[in-house]
């Protein structure tokens, strides 16, 4: 850890803070932004997210070492935090800060991508079921019932066990594919309630074909809960990835993810607690921020929330 790395770290911290505050100042005019930032923690949460995203993007600049470099497998094993290694080192003498920084890339990417899969699938199913009703609705919703009837971790463990070695893409995909059930219900409910609205009828009366009605009139207005559930979804995927890693299936080593960092450190939790503490806190912080942002978004995207 050279002064340069400290400088970059501080710069990113400052950038995140300025970014969050700037965003608040810059959007002061809009109602949605005002509702968003009315939440006491919203600006802070945005700052936290920005910080981690920046760190992930600039990982090579922030990380003092190669995240999978085993620096000195005997002398530097499980060292507590120090100036050289601000978060300490792990069992393999790897620098935890570097791992945390690169792990942010993986964890955030897995969270975002899996959530995208889940949300888009959920949205499509929800739209179809909600808009076309009748048998389509019946069939799709029964499918959802089945999906919801097995605890997700269970489903995931089984699904993941289909691969003896789990490529990251498959991990993302399976997490996504087991995560859309609730979203599809949400979207369906939203569509059902919008379907009857006068402006949807107006579009139909004007002769707009179903695809146009769905894409221009129904979907955009059902998108607010979708965005909120996406924000919350990233967090829950990150937690899930950590849980899977804990159970021994997750992102393959040596690629660091916050989940497998905790898993790597769990055997040293009594003797070298810092190895699990920093990734654990990172997850908590980001998931908290995502939830805070989700809450704030819920208000921001719903003009009816003016009073509460």
């Amino acid at each position: 850890m050279t002064p340069r790395h400290w400088a970059v770290l501080l710069a990113l911290l400052a950038a995140a803070a300025i970014g969050a505050l700037g965003l608040r100042a810059g959007t002061a005019g809009s109602d949605a932004a005002r509702r968003f930032f009315r939440h006491p923690t919203a600006a802070f949460a945005v700052g936290v997210l920005l910080f981690f995203v920046l760190i992930a993007v600039c990982a090579p600049l922030v990380a003092p070492y190669d995240p999978s470099a085993q620096l000195e497998i005997v002398q530097l094993q499980n060292r507590p935090p120090s100036w050289m290694h601000p978060l300490g080192t792990d069992l393999y003498s790897r620098d935890l800060l570097s791992r945390l920084v690169f792990g942010a890339r993986v964890s955030l990417a897995v969270g975002t991508l899996a959530m995208l899969v889940a949300v888009s699938l959920g949205a499509v199913v929800g739209l179809l079921a909600g808009y076309f009703h009748r048998w389509m609705d019946g069939v799709l919703m029964r499918l959802v019932d089945v999906g919801l009837a097995v605890p997700r971790i269970f489903l995931l463990l089984i699904a993941v066990s289909l691969w003896s070695q789990l490529p990251l893409a498959i991990l993302v995909l399976t997490i996504g594919l087991t995560g859309w059930f609730a979203t599809s219900r949400l979207v369906r409910a939203e569509v059902l309630s919008r379907r009857e609205l006068a402006y949807v009828d107006a579009a139909r009366a004007l002769g707009a074909p179903p695809a146009r009605v769905i894409l221009r009139h129904v979907l955009p207005n059902a998108v607010a809960p979708l965005i909120v559930s996406a924000a919350l979804g990233i967090g829950s995927v990150m937690l899930l990835e950590a849980s899977l890693s804990f159970l021994g299936i997750g992102v393959a080593p040596p690629t660091p993810s916050w989940g497998n960092m905790i898993a790597d450190g769990k055997e040293q939790i009594a003797t070298a607690p810092w190895t699990t503490l920093s990734p654990g806190l990172a997850i908590v912080l980001v998931v908290m921020a995502l939830n805070a942002v989700g809450d704030a978004l819920r208000d921001a995207l719903d003009p009816r929330r003016e009073a509460t």
Binding site: G138, R142, L197, A198, A202, A205, R212, N221
Partner: protein, 329 residues
């Protein structure tokens, strides 16, 4: 009198209740929202459709435009039979018939500006594009009495009256001949209501529009309609030219409805006929004359309870569905 532009014959719309077996089985307990409604509207004229909440007015309007599939009946608009059209022909016919909604808050897509809202029909029917479309939007806005600068606004930035005008402009954009106005002024304040009513009447004049004007306010209907149909529980109970209907209502329901409307004149307070009870649910309509449980007619008897009165001409041009339409109350 010329041939009617809109001819509705024995229109029936039943809503199925919930379905058994995971939503795939047979439906239970139908709601008879519209139960055999017939009328015709002459080109350039207005038929007012009045009745209490839930009597099926909106369903008539929506079904005629095939926003909902009918259960039975026939509707001929412009010589074409609406219920038998395929998707493509129907889309073409949609240029001839349009609808204006009651709720100025839900009838505009909150995420589209006025311009986007008004350009959409032009795009769907390929009527205009680019600068042509913008010009058309400006013209439409002007026609409904709105400043063309409003084109960039979102619905929530507009007042109720302005929204209603945008809704009308949207309906007019495809140059229809027939307009269903589903309670277009009920949600508006009196002062604004007057503005919109005036606008609708002006437009009718200029464009020779034909209106099906749905309302629950008899005074408003009196103002705008040449013909008036009174609905009760999915059926038309009285159908007559406005002048006759307001002067000499034949159905006891029409009479009590008229008497219940408050008149803004303390001097002219008349005797109200206060009906007892509520409108029954269309899911379980009473047998016989649907109005008989609330009917104040002195002659009400067993026949009313068992026999459904037909809609018949009591005097030429004035139809009523009451066994005792001829008798005074």
């Amino acid at each position: 009198m010329s041939a009617p532009l809109v001819d509705v014959r024995n229109l029936v719309k039943h809503y199925p209740g919930e379905r058994a077996w995971l939503g795939l089985g047979r439906p239970r307990r139908v709601v008879r929202a519209v139960d055999g409604v017939s009328f015709a509207i002459t080109p350039g004229q207005t038929l007012g459709l009045v009745g209490e909440s839930g009597c099926g007015k909106s369903t008539v309007g929506r079904t005629i435009l095939r926003l909902q599939e009918p259960t039975a009946g026939q509707v001929v608009i412009d010589g074409r039979e609406v219920f038998t059209l395929g998707a493509r022909e129907l889309r073409a016919l949609r240029r001839r018939m349009q609808i204006v909604f009651q709720d100025p808050y839900s009838s505009l897509n909150p995420r589209m500006t006025v311009r986007q809202t008004l350009r959409e029909p032009l795009a769907i029917h390929r009527l205009a594009a680019g600068a042509g479309a913008d010009a058309k939007v400006a013209a439409l806005l002007e026609e409904v009495g709105l400043d063309s600068r409003l084109a960039r606004s979102y619905p929530h930035e507009l007042s109720g009256g302005q929204r209603q005008r945008v809704g009308i402009a949207r309906a007019l954009s495809v140059e229809p001949a027939f307009l269903v106005c589903d309670e277009p002024v009920s949600a508006l304040d009196v002062s604004v209501q007057a503005q919109v009513l005036n606008l609708l009447m002006d437009l009718q004049q200029q464009r020779r529009l034909t209106y099906l004007f749905i309302a629950h306010d008899l005074a408003v209907v009196k103002h705008i309609a040449e013909q008036v149909a009174v609905m009760y529980l999915g059926k038309i109970v009285e159908l007559a030219p406005a002048a006759e209907l307001y002067l000499a209502p034949r159905h006891p329901y029409t009479r009590s409805l008229l008497s219940a409307v408050p008149v803004p004149d303390p001097a002219a307070q008349k005797q109200r006929i206060v009906l007892t009870g509520d409108v029954p649910s269309p899911a379980s309509p009473p047998p016989g004359c649907p109005f008989h449980p609330r009917c104040p007619h002195p002659k009400k008897n067993q026949r009313c309870r068992t026999e459904v009165p037909a809609l018949r001409a009591v005097v030429p041009g004035q139809l009523a569905a009451c066994h005792f339409a001829e008798e005074p109350m």
